[in-house]
Symmetry: C2
Subunit: 348 residues, 2 copies
């Protein structure tokens, strides 16, 4: 799994993902060539050290990172131009692409990496570190083509998960697209709220609505392409919502069973290090809003336990922050004692 990726690699499309793939491979000394319909993007990517704009004769691997609508044509063109090359893509919906192409040398791909900004200047060779990357062969895809793409994924620091095309699209609808829409629906209620009502907002609301802040245009595109997988899940949500509306204020057992099903659902999400999902515990620490306080706190905590997660609560009208340190439940008391020993007003 750790053999180097054979070059040269041709990256077609120098946006955030293409440039990040190129930078990551360059950092591992792979020969990378860059193409983009817009010569300015290529120039920016070259300047960032992502590779060369020189023509490549016979790439071992072509990574198509164009906008979704252009992927099928770009993949077909690459398969025709480079008859020895394995070709992969990075589009977020896979069935329409993989089923349209299905070639022994084509392997669909989808890195689950953040996209807060776009364009070649936002690229980073570390973008894929620790992220899942779906590897999606078609029915005709050759095993060695899949192996080459998985080697590339691992070299970029990502974790490959193999999916059939429709299973992939169902999975991203479930773990990404529908949760996004639920976040948007929740946030949309706030837009018309009477003045002052959101003053009572806590961290829960912030968590549920965080991803609704994303760029609307990008999501219109993503959701439109995966409508076939999203629609049945939304219908399921509507059915459960109807049951909930009937139950509320009436049948506590029906409400309880939904709440319990939700709790069970959260336990299926993989935990840290790919281990089984784990219940976690939180220790809360009020800190002064002064430079150096947070690092002193984190240092005192790290001296005692492994920190699984950490969040800073947004306090209102006071020069103090509330830091939540998330640890394994069996470590919470040890952390509490250690922090109190260092003079922190920690509590669970």
């Amino acid at each position: 799994m750790t053999a180097p990726v054979p070059g040269p690699v041709l990256v077609v499309g120098c946006g955030l993902i293409g440039t990040s793939v190129a930078l990551g491979l360059r950092a591992r000394d792979v020969e990378v060539h860059l193409q983009d319909l817009d010569p300015r993007n290529v120039a920016l990517a070259v300047e960032a050290g992502a590779g060369t704009d020189a023509v490549v004769e016979a790439p071992a691997l072509v990574v198509v990172a164009t906008p979704p609508a252009a992927v099928v044509d770009a993949v077909r063109s690459a398969l025709a131009s480079y008859p020895q090359a394995v070709v992969t893509d990075v589009a977020s919906v896979k069935a329409p692409i993989v089923e349209a192409i299905d070639d022994p040398r084509f392997v669909g791909g989808h890195p689950m990496a953040g996209k807060e900004r776009s364009g070649p200047t936002a690229g980073s060779g570390q973008l894929f570190e620790g992220r899942p990357w779906a590897v999606v062969p078609g029915a005709e895809t050759a095993d060695d083509a899949v192996a080459l793409v998985e080697r590339c994924v691992v070299e970029l620091g990502a974790v490959p998960y193999r999916f059939a095309p429709r299973a992939h699209d169902d999975a991203v609808a479930l773990v990404s697209h529908v949760p996004h829409l639920m976040s948007v629906l929740t946030a949309s209620l706030l837009a018309g709220a009477p003045e002052g009502h959101v003053e009572l907002a806590g961290q829960g609301l912030r968590d549920v609505t965080r991803i609704a802040r994303s760029d609307a245009d990008l999501w219109v595109d993503i959701i439109g392409h995966n409508a076939a997988a999203i629609a049945p899940l939304l219908t399921q949500v509507r059915d459960r919502l109807d049951t909930l509306i009937d139950a509320i204020g009436g049948d506590p057992r029906s409400l309880e069973s939904l709440l319990e099903r939700g709790r069970q659902g959260t336990t299926t999400i993989p935990g840290k290090h790919g281990t089984l999902p784990t219940e976690l515990a939180s220790v809360f620490v009020p800190i002064d809003d002064m430079p150096g306080e947070l690092s002193r706190l984190v240092g005192d905590a790290e001296g005692s336990v492994n920190i699984e997660d950490l969040r800073i609560d947004h306090e209102m009208g006071r020069p103090v922050g509330l830091v939540e340190i998330v640890v394994l439940p069996e470590r919470a008391d040890k952390l509490l004692d250690a922090l109190r020993g260092h003079g922190w007003a920690a509590y669970r």
Copy 2:
């Protein structure tokens, strides 16, 4: 606003909230007396330093922190027993209580504080630091009673927001109860997911479903009591969901308008220090999963900018963590340069 709270204060109900109120007041040298139907709870609270179980003759303030179903009787009893006392409560739904009692000396209250654990041993005098606390007078409530309760709230480190009873119940339905149910609905889909689909989960899904992990029993109670305010919001969600199901894969403008309304909704949530909501930017830093690495990173970051929030992404199968440092957008480049200068592989 900073005058000390006159004692003695009687706390009725030594669960998490009652004990925390008592501990917070004791830390400010207020005389606190404790009552609970269960003498073990009083004993535990006394042992924790929350006050005395000695009988009180004439409390200045009575804080009723019993389970919701017992609040109205406990408040009436306190008003009758202590004819000079101001009485407040801490139940999470206010209209049924405030409208049932409406007395010059009664002020409804609702601290927006975490409840991961319960019981007197989970109590903390810091529980309310920086948290909103709804103060809910009835039509007959006297101004000086409201002023006394608000003084107590401020002494406990919380931020008082005054609400009419029904406006309060609408507000918590909007910012807490409905978001909770949306999180539960999203998480409930995962419970029946095909194996392997959640492997592609990212931080977005974790955020949206985090609060669905809470105790189901507690939420059956909370939601049942506020059904009148929750139901119309859920009906609104269903209408928007119907529109969404029709639009998906069909009318991108309708989808885009919902996404845009969601984005606008997120901008109404108050930001840090009670200021206007602010757009924030993230800088990502892969770190080795070794003790001391996180505090070194936070120290390097704090030396350069003010950290608004921080989260540790749960990587899969690799001994490395991805830390997201959230800062004001205009500081992101400065942070990036500073971290790179310290040798971190930071990126945006």
